[in-house]
Symmetry: C2
Subunit: 415 residues, 2 copies
């Protein structure tokens, strides 16, 4: 029996209210315009484990995971308990707490290539740090980043540079992710002035098939950095904890970064971002100014420590990888059964689905919209995020709804 | 009977550990180097109301208020309850909660000059937004900011620009805060290309006497902005809720800003920053890209709503203003009694004390260090922050310790 599409009356009435007091209403990756207006909820009431409930009372298996943070499941008991315990002592205080040291020590022990860390809030805080670090260490100015890659909402790399003067985007050279010749050409264009290459461990920008690195790409990237004395800066903000059981994406692909940026999933929902780097960069780091009001708050430190512990103890990577593999295989099969060719790219923990011959994402939007309308949150333009709390029942529900939605598309196409 | 100076063994042993895993150990405004090494604690165990306890068990009346966030008192019951209630539903979710809309509506209703808002995490997120907004709206590039004023840790305005190429600091023109001729000259230097003036409501940079605006300065600032078609962008991140019972600093001083930045105190310790602006800027705002993983998290929204309610209900501004006036008057008197001339500048809620004839802050560091050693956290280089939970007993203790510490300085000077 076909499912009844969800009623989203309250979500869209709240969105109308929001549009009066916020330009465009909800902005950025959270806007329904980025997904499918009218089909997705815009406001949620709560989350628990792998599920969320919206303000109209509809329940969803949420494969978007808050765009990354939901690593272990919403309101993971151990993380919740750690945050609550720290909340009983305070969050923002005049000086940091002992947890701040413990987290730094835990990360330095965990991240093999790192001898030190520093903490910010947003991923953009630490990608900025990585760039300044490379420039200060090398005395050079240019940073190479992949065309289309997302690293920051700050002026130098914001994807839509409205309100940004050209000068504030100087010294950023673009190359094609995964293309050694293109990277070499970018080095040549800034000959002798390249401070570093800032790169994601795999290709995961929005509106694009994802791509995993080949060993040849990894080797060429390091050879070029070595030859030109440039630093290899890994932006692992989005992918960390979803590429390898250690949590560290460079272990999955064989990178040897000089500095790594983390954020999103590291504290299962509390805001903390991390720059981690080698001993050789400590001198340059000591000369950087890096400070903001909430950088030292204690609750995110407590959350990160509890998240790292639970991630290991619960073998959360294996759990989300298994769930992701089942989802990806099942989606390919359900799509084929309905007569659709699809490409499911990226690691199974962060998949992205596209339909063949759908350059404008029309089929994607239709299918994802119908999925949302029937209780599964995936995304037509952005990779998804698995989490460690997904159950076999969740996976079965996702695939069942998927089959129904591929069927709806087929019926539409036939009509 | 003189007080026994505090033992800080555990703080400094933790700092030794921190220095192994974080460049310079604790960095930025939280570093003991910014205060007085050896005299200040570096790690705190907990906060409650106006008091904090360090990891060695020493208690302090904390007049630094976490560098701003502590508006109502640490772990304010109503704010704590609101955060705990939201934590029972979730923090970072795939879409925002209804609280996000409620907070936007509450702020637009509260801030007379604002017709819309948007939310970030750090103050620097929204000062960046203000600059992009002005540039997008005017089609111009230059932004005028006061020499020495702190607005951001991002490349364009970071106080120590190590690792930042010159181009990334282009189009920023400096003027002397409060000096209309200097501002006019800055307009002239970027003739026809000034998008806006970003300015704090009063002068409150570190290492400097504070200064309140004169009506002449306010009038000249607006006249120049009007004449040149530039926007008046108020950076109220540090001063908001401590200059006027409405919480809005422009009410205290008569500014009519086009856009205002908030942060720090607005949620009593949870991370949220706000850009608020006029209807005329909505079109430009709609064209800006502004997004980050934790921008939509629910706990800070719950905290801000509860903070605004409690701030009004408890008349927190009046309370902290009374406490601040008593502290400022008492400090002047205790200093004079010990034969010291001091200048206590800024609003009573955000005072800063300097000794006469102490250009290198040596007396300041000695006095503040002894204060910390005896249970009062103030700062030799940065303004202080009063909060609404300060009791007459707190004020009496502060002044009693202050008298003892002025006496110690006098004995040293006489020796």
């Amino acid at each position: 029996m076909p499912r009844t599409p969800y009623d989203l009356t309250r979500s869209y009435s709240l969105l109308e209210r929001a549009r009066k007091v916020v330009p465009r209403g909800v902005y950025g990756t959270r806007s329904v315009e980025f997904a499918v207006p009218g089909k997705y909820p815009q406001f949620l009431r709560e989350g628990r484990g792998s599920r969320v409930r919206d303000v109209d009372g509809n329940e969803y298996v949420d494969l978007m995971g808050a765009f990354g943070p939901n690593l272990l499941g919403y309101r993971h008991p151990a993380v919740e308990a750690a945050v609550r315990e720290q909340a009983g002592r305070g969050n923002a205080l005049t000086f940091p707490t002992e947890l701040w040291v413990e987290l730094a020590e835990t990360l330095v022990a965990r991240i093999d290539v790192a001898d030190w860390v520093a903490f910010g809030k947003n991923g953009s805080d630490v990608t900025d740090y990585a760039i300044r670090l490379a420039r200060q260490h090398t005395g050079r100015r240019a940073v190479l980043v992949a065309e289309g890659a997302y690293h920051t909402f700050h002026p130098w790399g914001v994807p839509i540079p409205t309100g940004v003067p050209d000068a504030w985007r100087a010294h950023i050279e673009r190359f094609t992710w995964g293309d050694a010749d293109s990277l070499e050409a970018a080095f040549r264009r800034s000959s002798g002035d390249v401070a570093g290459v800032l790169v994601t461990p795999f290709r995961h920008e929005a509106f694009h098939d994802q791509a995993l690195p080949t060993p040849e790409w990894v080797a060429a990237l390091h050879a070029l950095c070595d030859r030109h004395g440039a630093l290899m800066l890994l932006d692992d903000v989005r992918a960390a904890f979803r590429c390898h059981a250690s949590g560290l994406s460079h272990h999955a692909f064989g990178y040897r970064p000089d500095a790594i940026c983390y954020g999103k999933a590291i504290s299962n929902g509390q805001p903390v971002a991390v720059i981690a780097a080698r001993e050789a960069l400590r001198g340059a780091a000591s000369q950087l100014y890096f400070s903001a009001t909430h950088f030292f708050s204690a609750e995110p430190m407590a959350a990160a420590l509890a998240t790292l512990r639970a991630f290991d103890e619960e073998k959360a990577f294996d759990a989300m990888n298994r769930a992701g593999e089942a989802v990806c295989a099942g989606l390919r099969e359900r799509a084929a059964a309905a007569g659709f060719g699809v490409r499911v790219t990226g690691p199974p923990t962060m998949p992205f689905l596209r339909f063949d011959s759908d350059p404008e994402f029309r089929l994607s939007r239709s299918w994802c919209g119908e999925m949302a309308q029937r209780g599964v949150l995936v995304h037509p333009h952005h990779n998804w995020f698995m989490n460690g709390s997904l159950t076999p029942e969740d996976v079965a529900l996702v695939l069942d709804v998927a089959a129904e939605c591929f069927g709806l598309l087929r019926a539409d196409a036939g009509a």
